[in-house]
């Protein structure tokens, strides 16, 4: 009876509203995937998968990295764009030409091309830059001092660029990544200095700028999605904001190809744990003191089938392609997993300390693979070591400065 009645009632509503209106046209205008075609990808690129770029929804800059001694000219380019959208290639004189997939584009001399994607409903558009750049060889050792920071394009939070050409390619988009873009979504009212990762002028051990990572409450929106805190973080790799809600651990992807074998990282650190450690539900956990994390991981970045391998928040210490790991000292369970407790062994306190973190290798590094950028280097810091699972103490602060990575000098 109830069923019939409700059907009847609903039918009434639908009849009154003359069914569903015509489906609205798509409003989005993204390049989702870009790919170039070459006859001999393994020779031109370091990895065959480098011919295809999955484009992050927030990114409008697509760079294909080729080997330093290679050159390309006219390459067929294919773009996968939002359904119904139209792609235009913008000429230097400002004119736009409809772009057909597979058309030849002159990518010689690192020439940058602009593409405009117009949505199906014609109301929205985005402009992308696409180029093919050389991946020049770099020296092994490097030091990063966090002196180059600026507000992001929206003016909401700070981001740190790598200006040293020697290291720039070890950082996707030549930038340190962190959770700030995610925090922006949950706390739109936050001022730049209220974000989890912020610069501190003149407070480094050498009197220059350093970075403060602080575990922050994500407010009502964070609770809405059961992510009540955001650990301050700094790493090289990709932070995929698009999937930060869906699968936060996998949205944090660490590392970039690196042609040297790192042996140790040194870094200046100081740490103040927050008062109360809380679990994912926001409930206090007795007998647990928050701890920071700092680690460096070296891993094989391609599987046997030639697919890209990138470690993420689920497997940064357990991925089978890992060659060696260096990590701040922690209590661990017998199976190697993190053991939370109230007796941390990291040895950090509120005074600056130069910490040396050696890499321990469990596999032999192959020199040929190394020279061909078949390994990736990941560097990562967090103010709450369990922050990936949204556990930690709000107010935990990790200060970082002068990260140095030292490489094996006998490598060639």
């Amino acid at each position: 009876m109830r069923k019939y009645f409700s059907r009847f009632l609903f039918l009434g509503v639908v009849v009154l509203t003359s069914c569903f209106g015509k489906e609205p046209l798509n409003t989005e205008c993204d390049i989702e995937v870009a790919s170039v075609h070459v006859e001999n990808p393994a020779e031109v690129f370091h990895h065959e998968y480098d011919t295809l770029k999955v484009v992050n929804s927030a990114s409008d800059n697509i760079v294909f990295l080729i080997r330093s001694y290679e050159n390309v000219a006219q390459l067929p380019l294919s773009l996968r764009i939002t359904q119904g959208a139209t792609a235009y290639i913008l000429n230097e004189d400002g004119s736009a030409e409809k772009f057909r997939n597979g058309s030849l584009v002159d990518f010689s001399n690192e020439k940058t091309w602009k593409f405009r994607i117009v949505s199906e409903d014609k109301a929205w558009s985005r402009v992308y830059s696409i180029k093919v750049a050389h991946d020049y060889p770099t020296e092994g050792d490097f030091c990063l001092d966090f002196e180059n920071y600026a507000l992001d394009a929206t003016g909401k939070y700070y981001e740190w660029s790598i200006t040293d050409a020697n290291v720039a390619n070890v950082f996707t988009d030549a930038k340190w990544k962190n959770g700030n873009p995610g925090y922006k979504l949950s706390k739109s009212s936050a001022k730049p200095m209220e974000y989890p990762s912020v610069p501190l002028v003149g407070e480094g051990p050498d009197g220059s700028a350093c970075v403060k990572l602080e575990t922050k409450d994500t407010g009502s929106f964070g609770s809405m999605v059961n992510m009540r805190l955001a650990s301050g973080s700094m790493f090289n790799g990709i932070f995929d904001v698009s999937n930060a809600l869906k699968d936060a651990l996998r949205a944090t992807r660490f590392g970039s190809p690196f042609a040297h074998k790192p042996v140790k990282m040194t870094v200046w650190l100081k740490y103040e744990p927050g008062a109360t450690f809380q679990n994912r539900l926001g409930k206090p956990v007795e007998g647990v003191i928050d701890e920071p994390d700092a680690y460096v991981v070296f891993y094989r970045n391609q599987d046997e089938a030639g697919n890209e391998v990138m470690i993420d928040g689920t497997d940064m210490f357990t991925n089978p392609y890992i060659m060696g790991i260096g990590r701040l000292s922690h209590n661990l369970n017998e199976d190697g997993s993190d053991k939370m407790g109230d007796t941390p062994i990291h040895g950090l306190n509120s005074q600056w300390k130069l910490v040396e973190i050696p890499l321990v290798y469990t596999k032999e590094v192959d020199q040929d693979i190394l020279a061909n950028k078949g390994y990736s280097l990941a560097i990562s810091f967090a103010s709450s070591w369990q922050g990936g699972n949204f556990q930690g103490a709000i107010g935990s602060k990790l200060y970082i400065d002068n990260v140095s990575v030292y490489c094996d000098k006998d490598e060639y």
Binding site: M1, S6, L9, G21, T27, W124, S186, S220, M224, A244
Partner: protein, 263 residues
């Protein structure tokens, strides 16, 4: 019982002029005290319905489930007949009503503000909503005696809510598509799936009052007992004026069938 109720419902809906009226006397089925007398009707009924945008916005692509929760109404009407056919009534009806719906939406504009933080954008995916309302409706109606045993009443009503709930969650649809474009369609794309849906609760943004029209049919089953069917159609938006998380106006539409006792 079920068949009879269905039958009655059909009668109500079709506005049928009954063939029985010829044999029935106006006096026999009239008010208890003469043709222009006054009286009281006590009503109890089963309420079903929903709160919906009208017309359905084009952003709503399909309704997966629409399941009114069984509601209830009890109330009393005081009436006065002015002549053989016309009269008036006022009523106080207490009700509980609610519904559950799941709809697929595309580019559904939304904006949420909580604790001074705003998240806005366009959502594509599945939106599940639960609504519950406890309150009181006060109709003021004109009554037309269409026949000795059939009354039709209509008029405006004012509802007030004692307790309201409008909450739900958004996640991916059956094709696995569920995302928010932050701020506008070129903004960051934030995927949302059913394993970690985004929940919302707009209960506090619902207005305390609603004004609408009530239509009620009474069929006099025996000397003191009516079977009735009524429809309450809300004419005012359920949302506060400055509320913009839901980009369109929504109206409560609830129907009741039940029994009434005439004094």
């Amino acid at each position: 019982m079920m068949n009879k109720m269905r039958y009655i419902l059909a009668m109500v809906v079709l506005l049928s002029a009954t063939v029985m009226q010829g044999q029935d006397s106006w006096e026999k089925w009239g008010p208890t005290k003469g043709m222009n007398g006054a009286g009281v009707v006590v009503r109890a009924g089963y309420t079903l319905g929903g709160t919906s945008p009208i017309p359905l916005p084009k952003e709503v692509r399909s309704i997966n489930t629409f399941a009114p929760k069984g509601g209830a109404t009890i109330g009393v009407d005081v009436y006065k007949m002015f002549c053989k056919r016309w009269g008036a009534s006022v009523g106080w009806h207490f009700f509980y009503e609610g519904f559950h719906t799941s709809a697929d939406v595309k580019n559904y504009k939304m904006s949420l503000t909580m604790d001074g933080n705003t998240m806005s954008g366009y959502f594509t995916g599945t939106d599940v909503t639960n609504t519950d309302m406890w309150g009181m409706t006060m109709p003021v109606m004109a009554t037309l005696r269409m026949s000795p045993r059939w009354n039709f009443s209509f008029g405006p009503y004012l509802s007030t809510y004692f307790k309201r709930n409008f909450s739900g969650e958004v996640y991916d649809n059956k094709d696995g598509i569920g995302y928010l474009r932050v701020d506008d369609p070129t903004g960051e794309k934030v995927n949302i799936d059913r394993n970690n849906p985004a929940t919302y609760d707009f209960s506090d943004n619902m207005l305390q009052w609603n004004v609408g029209l009530e239509f009620c049919f009474d069929w006099k089953a025996c000397r003191h007992m009516n079977v009735f069917g009524k429809l309450d159609w809300g004419m005012t938006n359920i949302w506060e004026r400055d509320f913009d998380a839901v980009a369109f106006k929504m109206y409560p539409i609830y129907a009741t069938i039940g029994l009434a006792y005439r004094y």
